[in-house]
């Protein structure tokens, strides 16, 4: 909106008037407020949400990571870095971290790769293209626990079509019992849930590539495969980089619901991710101190990961 303030007098020789150009010695680009507290007041709702739902719990987690709390929360003892050393030296923690790494790599890779493949193919569909695209985006509207439930049905021991399908090849899937089978189901469901998001971004990225650049490439390069890797893919890199961060975060944190449904909250010897372990130790094991220490480690890890991603990858990404 344009500011409506009295002209500062730069409109030569004219009577006092409301002016869009000369507002209090500044041009109209900068809107001046009557009180210097006004802009802060506008920011307050957003800032308070960040403070209440992010900063405060984070600070609380950092605090309790240094304490040993009794299971009922009546007393707590300061134990310094004990929670951290316990966590880092535990072989169980190492195992879960390892699984989380593998899980994240698999989920990120396959959800990006499949979404890219689908987007490239959908971009070339001429007839009924929008129907096709809408169908591919549908899963996006499914909430993670619901996706987990649908996934569970597909992988069900007795009625799951995917289990039956695997049986055709002599693979007796035992979700929730066999470590590998359970991990497999988790990865498949997580990838399936994430593909639509990536698909939407990749598709809009593809449509953002100049048509004449693609035509120039058509003339310069016969092989569609080569053309994709030398022209289309590099030009999609900004989208891909953004999605990489989104997907790593997704695999780390947002798969919680899916994992929970697959495990039916009974992990036993089954694989869990670090985030799920935080929940297990804190709320099932009542070890709030250890759980907090793990969250703090996760926070640090994500922080470092983000810096590495921006430093290393952004340098090689072309932003047009």
């Amino acid at each position: 909106m344009r500011p409506h303030f009295p002209c500062d007098g730069r409109c030569a020789g004219s009577a006092p008037h409301i002016c869009h150009l000369h507002v209090r010695g500044d041009t109209m680009k900068k809107v001046q407020f009557n009180s210097r507290w006004m802009p802060y007041a506008f920011l307050l709702p957003q800032l308070s949400i960040v403070a209440i739902f992010f900063l405060w719990p984070a600070a609380e987690a950092v605090r309790s990571s240094f304490y040993l709390e009794d299971p009922f929360g009546f007393s707590s003892t300061f134990v310094g870095f004990d929670n951290f050393t316990d966590t880092l030296t535990s072989s169980n923690y190492a195992r879960v971290a390892q699984f989380t790494a593998v899980f994240t790599v698999l989920v990120t890779f396959f959800s990006l790769a499949l979404a890219l493949l689908l987007a490239v193919k959908a971009d070339k569909v001429l007839r009924a293209g929008s129907t096709y695209k809408t169908l591919l985006m549908w899963v996006y509207a499914v909430a993670p626990p619901v996706a987990g439930l649908i996934g569970i049905l597909l992988f069900d021991q007795h009625v799951g079509p995917l289990v039956d399908f695997a049986a055709l090849f002599g693979w007796k899937m035992q979700i929730g019992v066999n470590y590998f089978d359970t991990s497999f189901a988790m990865v498949v469901i997580s990838v399936w849930k994430q593909i639509p998001v990536n698909f939407i971004f990749f598709l809009s990225g593809l449509q953002g590539i100049s048509r004449s650049v693609q035509e120039a490439a058509n003339i310069d390069c016969r092989s569609g495969f080569r053309r994709f890797w030398t022209v289309t893919f590099p030009l999609l890199a900004p989208t891909g980089f953004f999605l990489l961060i989104i997907n790593v975060t997704y695999a780390f944190f947002d798969t919680f619901g899916i994992i929970d449904v697959v495990l039916k909250t009974e992990p036993g010897n089954n694989p869990v991710t670090l985030v799920y372990k935080v929940y297990l130790d804190g709320f099932r094991g009542n070890d709030l101190g250890g759980s907090s220490a793990q969250s703090v480690l996760l926070m640090l890890f994500v922080f470092i990961l983000t810096i590495i991603q921006f430093r290393l990858i952004e340098r090689r990404v072309h932003y047009s």
């Binding site: 100049s210 004449s212 650049v213 035509e215 003339i219 310069d220 092989s223 030398t230």
Partner: protein, 360 residues
């Protein structure tokens, strides 16, 4: 041999929209052909069909005696320069030039030689390591040209390559394109809506209108003998004066207004006469008509452009608008009535119904 032949080429889009309606052109080896016409006349579609970027609905296109209807764009041995240059934004200038060669499996040393040579010709040697976004419009244009040159193709296709440049650069690049084409002797097809560009570049002009060819010919031949009122009004600036006339016992009369008198050499019923602005001479009132045309015109606007001036007027008695070229520094009063004469050889006659030229 890299002649290009178009035989009854048609393009029909979905919904039965016919963009190109049976066009046939024979382009000789080394010839510079310019497709010119207003937007929507099908000139770009035609070029894109030669390039292989659009399917051919019917008819045949051959490049160097090979029918290319079903040949992949990369295998047609053509290079195209796009209106917005279409440079690969993520590649350096060097890689932009080399890309088409690398993909064809050319040895590195040969690629390097060709890129350096093209860079020398186009004076872009200093920017080879830069990305396109670090270049000015004119430099990008040169890189786009370079990408075509290094290929040493059978034909260059230009799709309005100068329309994104400012006026000064456009003239400069126009001269350069012409010089390069003559030097390399590569068959070229050039699309433009700018009649001046078309006139100056072409060995032969192809004037298109509504998917049909209006006229093919050397620029000066088209200028001297436009085949229709459309060509007459499109080629030449300011455009040819076109005045609708009717005939009576005394010869031709303007359909509207009173200020036109002329002989009727062909014994025509009704026709449109055309006179170029430079062929109208200001004469003393009462000069005998002779075998040409005499107009009386009311001056509306005088427009000096430096080397010459133009009078914008209307035929006396409320008739058609008329433009007259006069020598610079000559002045006439606004609203003055001038008597103008055009020699018989400079008057063009067009059919009143079809607009086609009538040879007299």
């Amino acid at each position: 041999m890299s002649n290009i032949t178009l035989d009854q080429v048609r393009k029909v889009y979905a919904g039965n929209v016919e963009a190109v309606k049976g066009v046939s052109i024979d382009i000789a080896d080394g010839e510079f052909i310019v497709l010119v016409g207003p937007s929507g006349c099908g000139k770009s579609t035609l070029l894109r069909m030669i390039a292989g970027l659009e399917d051919i609905s019917s008819g045949e296109i051959s490049i160097g005696d090979r029918v290319v209807n079903k040949v992949d764009p990369a295998d047609r041995d053509i290079a195209m320069v796009f209106q917005n240059y279409a440079l690969y934004p993520h590649m350096s200038v060097y890689k932009n030039l080399a890309y088409g060669l690398t993909n064809r499996g050319m040895p590195k040393s040969e690629i390097d030689r060709r890129v350096k040579e093209a860079a020398d010709i186009l004076e872009i040697g200093d920017y080879l390591d830069r990305k396109p976004r670090a270049l000015s419009g004119g430099q990008r244009q040169r890189v786009a040209m370079g990408r075509a040159i290094v290929r040493e193709p059978a034909a260059f296709l230009f799709d309005e390559p100068l329309s994104n440049l400012d006026a000064k650069l456009r003239v400069q690049m126009r001269v350069e394109i012409k010089r390069l084409q003559k030097e390399l002797g590569t068959t070229s097809v050039y699309v433009t809506h700018d009649q001046l560009e078309a006139m100056t570049l072409a060995d032969r002009l192809v004037v298109l209108n509504g998917g049909n060819i209006e006229q093919i010919g050397a620029p000066i031949a088209v200028y001297d003998k436009p085949a229709s009122t459309f060509v007459a009004s499109f080629i030449g600036s300011p455009a040819m004066n076109l005045i609708e006339t009717v005939s009576d016992a005394g010869g031709l009369k303007a359909k509207a207004g009173t200020g036109l008198q002329g002989g009727n050499p062909g014994g025509l019923q009704a026709c449109t006469v055309g006179i170029r602005p430079e062929h109208l001479q200001v004469v003393e009132a009462g000069t005998p008509v002779g075998d040409g045309l005499t107009l009386t015109v009311k001056v509306n606007v005088l427009e000096p452009v430096g080397a010459e001036s133009y009078i914008y007027g209307t035929i006396d008695g409320g008739g058609a608008p008329v433009v007259i070229r006069i020598e610079s520094h000559q002045t006439y009063d606004i609203n003055a009535i001038l008597t103008l004469h055009a020699a018989a050889k400079d008057v063009h006659y067009f059919d009143a119904e079809t607009g086609r030229r009538i040879e007299s």
